[in-house]
């Protein structure tokens, strides 16, 4: 039986992808539980911070998604961990200060437009945590994007935000019942109060993930951003 602390739930089309932390003696490592036949969960009634008991079996996942494990016995919730404690555990798992350190390989920029990617044959993992010097969220053509500076001073621009909680927050902010000029209001919030809320938070932390290989590349995305969004922030704009 494995105890898994759910650390990220990301949107992947109609499904969600889940990653958790597993303690193995002194080591804390990321594990991605997957159903036996697909990569995502169409129904996942759990929240981040919940500790789930489950049975997992190793599978031969396509690299660099070496964290994949097949779920052989259903989840059972056993405890809940607070937001700052989740980050404490995440800091003990895979972390890097530099772009090359994220997936232990070179990272390439899209020559045509935006986005950065790693090559599946070069990347050694598909998830990594990092501290950022600065971070900005932006709504670009209705899509939530993040730009951040790593501790090394290297910059990552236009990362798609796939964190379910942040995307839910964006959707709630743009809900028609909230009135007019929704995008402009959200943008103003993202550019002002939010920046401060994120960067001044003592447990500010991000996790960057890789998409599944598509046309021989894995795009970088912002899997998780701490602090998590608060419903009361919607009252501020």
């Amino acid at each position: 039986m494995t105890k898994l602390l759910v650390t990220e739930i990301t949107r992947m089309g109609p499904a969600v992808c889940v990653i958790g932390l597993q303690r193995d003696k002194e080591k804390v490592q990321s594990i991605r539980p997957v159903p036996t036949w697909v990569n995502g969960w169409l129904h996942f009634p759990y929240q981040r911070g919940e500790v789930l008991e489950c049975s997992l079996a190793p599978i031969c996942g396509a690299p660099p998604h070496v964290e994949d494990r097949a779920l052989t016995k259903n989840f059972r919730k056993s405890a809940t961990v607070g937001e700052s404690d989740i980050v404490t555990y995440l800091r003990k798992a895979e972390c890097a200060d530099s772009l090359r350190g994220l997936f232990e390989c070179a990272v390439y920029e899209n020559k045509k437009g935006s986005g950065v990617y790693a090559r599946p044959t070069e990347a050694h993992r598909s998830i990594c945590g990092c501290q950022t010097q600065n971070l900005r969220l932006e709504l670009c053509g209705n899509e939530l994007r993040a730009t951040l500076v790593l501790a090394s001073g290297e910059l990552l621009r236009d990362l798609p935000v796939v964190d379910r909680d942040w995307l839910d927050f964006k959707d709630a902010a743009l809900a028609v019942e909230r009135g007019a000029n929704l995008a402009a209001r959200l943008e103003r919030f993202l550019n002002s109060q939010l920046q401060y809320k994120i960067m001044s938070c003592p447990h500010h932390f991000v996790r960057i993930g890789l998409t599944r290989p598509y046309r021989e590349v894995c795009w970088l995305m912002l899997d998780t951003l701490f602090p998590m969004p608060k419903a009361e922030w919607l009252e501020e704009f």
Binding site: K111, K112, G141, G153, A183
Partner: protein
């Protein structure tokens, strides 16, 4: 308000940009969609492709679109609408470069004359190998550098820069008294008085001629040129002298830096006389086009140089990452110049780019699919000249162009990079034609 004629020209330009960027993203064979089709809903692009497409249009047009397209369908019509909106008033565009280009008028400044000089001491690259304790032949075999131009004992940034400036002024039949500004850039001159002030005195410029130093290292020439163009376009200046000068051989010495880095550099200077295009004076010169600038911070750690306490230099230099970044970025700048100017890269007569080393220039030419002959061979015999590299290449390209009949002179692309992966570019077109014959 934008005049109707200008508006229709702009629309034509915007449409070309949108189509080019769409095909880059969706593939050359992808049919161009109906204007109102939602590109995400119909699966033509996914959300990553959509944002990538928007960013490509933004870079090529110099107009920020992102927020203008929120709460709108992901369609070509929405993009065209946002681009058109940016033309409605001077404050409508939120892109500083676009505002700058529009305010100064992209063709108000022209390059009347140019010059380039190299350090007088030409040494075989094997001598640099030896001095830096590298295997003999390394610079030649690995980087393609055959020789390096080093400043002679009586040469420095001031003497090289002044010589280049005097030659350019002479070529333009322009007296020093006509200069309204001297704009200097150097990545090796860190003394006071600043280089522009010293040049001002040395050239005997008028007391009310301004003197300004700009930074940017290897991007310095483009930084200096955009300032010159802005001064001319705003009416603050009629004639501006732009001077670059670098003497690496006294800064990047074997005692201070490793040879894989320091051995690549040589010494030189370049100068340009930029003038306002009026009374048909531009007939023999090259008009300066729009500028694009940016900073690709993901490569920030590829090169870092900082003084240490012992008087040496701490150099962090990831050659492989830097090479890859330089090629990718120069390629991207050239693609944007092509899209924005409407001038196909195949029609360009000369690429005056930064030349980190000859090998990379050859790779770049191959990557962008043009003849290596269109890149003036400067670095091979003189080494990397820093902020003077682009200037030396531009001067050579202008000299080459001058051999052709004026109406046959092809456009020139300028593209360069600086530490921190600063990037910039512009294009020059033979003044009277405006490059019309070479546009797509």
């Amino acid at each position: 308000m934008t005049p109707p004629q200008l508006s229709s020209l702009a629309e034509e330009g915007f449409r070309r940009i949108v189509e080019t960027c769409f095909r880059q993203e969706a593939g050359a064979s992808a049919p161009f969609p109906d204007e109102t089709t939602d590109l995400i809903e119909t699966g033509i692009l996914d959300s990553m492709g959509w944002v990538s497409f928007l960013r490509a249009v933004e870079t090529a047009s110099g107009i920020s679109l992102g927020s203008g397209l929120n709460e709108q369908p992901s369609s070509i019509a929405a993009i065209m609408g946002a681009l058109q909106d940016s033309m409605k008033g001077p404050s409508a565009s939120n892109d500083p470069q676009m505002r700058m280009n529009r305010a100064v008028g992209a063709s108000t400044a022209f390059v009347a004359a140019s010059s380039s000089v190299l350090g007088a001491k030409l040494v075989p690259s094997e001598e640099a190998d030896r001095a830096f304790g590298m295997p003999i032949g390394k610079l030649r075999k690995r980087a393609g550098i055959e020789s390096l131009a080093y400043a002679a004992a009586d040469e420095n940034e001031l003497t090289l820069g002044a010589r280049a400036a005097e030659e350019a002024l002479r070529a333009a039949s322009c007296g020093t008294g006509e200069l309204d500004w001297i704009i200097a850039t150097s990545e090796t001159h860190h003394d006071y008085p600043a280089l522009s002030a010293q040049l001002h005195s040395r050239l005997l410029a008028r007391e009310n001629c301004g003197a300004l130093d700009v930074g940017g290292a290897c991007l310095g020439l483009l930084n200096a040129m955009v300032v010159a163009q802005s001064l001319i376009g705003s009416g603050a200046a009629q004639t501006v002298g732009v001077v670059t000068a670098d003497v690496h051989s006294r800064v990047l010495t074997p005692r201070r830096v490793v040879g894989e880095f320091g051995g690549l550099f040589g010494d030189g200077a370049s100068a340009f006389v930029l003038r306002r295009d009026e009374h048909g004076r531009a007939d023999s010169g090259y008009c300066v086009g729009d500028f694009l600038f940016g900073c690709a911070g993901q490569y920030a750690s590829a090169i870092r140089v900082a003084p240490n306490e012992g008087g040496g230099l701490d150099v962090q230099f990831d050659g492989e990452a830097l090479s890859r970044a330089a090629i990718t970025r120069l390629e991207k700048v050239i693609a944007v110049l092509e899209t924005r100017s409407g001038i196909a890269r195949g029609s360009v007569g000369g690429f005056a780019t930064h030349q980190p080393n000859p090998r990379l220039v050859a790779v770049l030419a191959k990557q962008i699919g043009v003849s290596p002959e269109t890149f003036p061979a400067i670095c091979r015999t003189s080494g990397n000249l820093g902020s003077s590299m682009c200037g030396a290449a531009l001067h050579a390209a202008l000299q080459q162009a001058a051999k052709a009949e004026f109406s046959q002179r092809k456009p020139i692309f300028l593209a360069s990079l600086g530490p921190g992966m600063l990037l910039g570019g512009t294009w020059l077109t033979a003044a009277s034609s405006g490059g019309a014959a070479f546009r797509r």
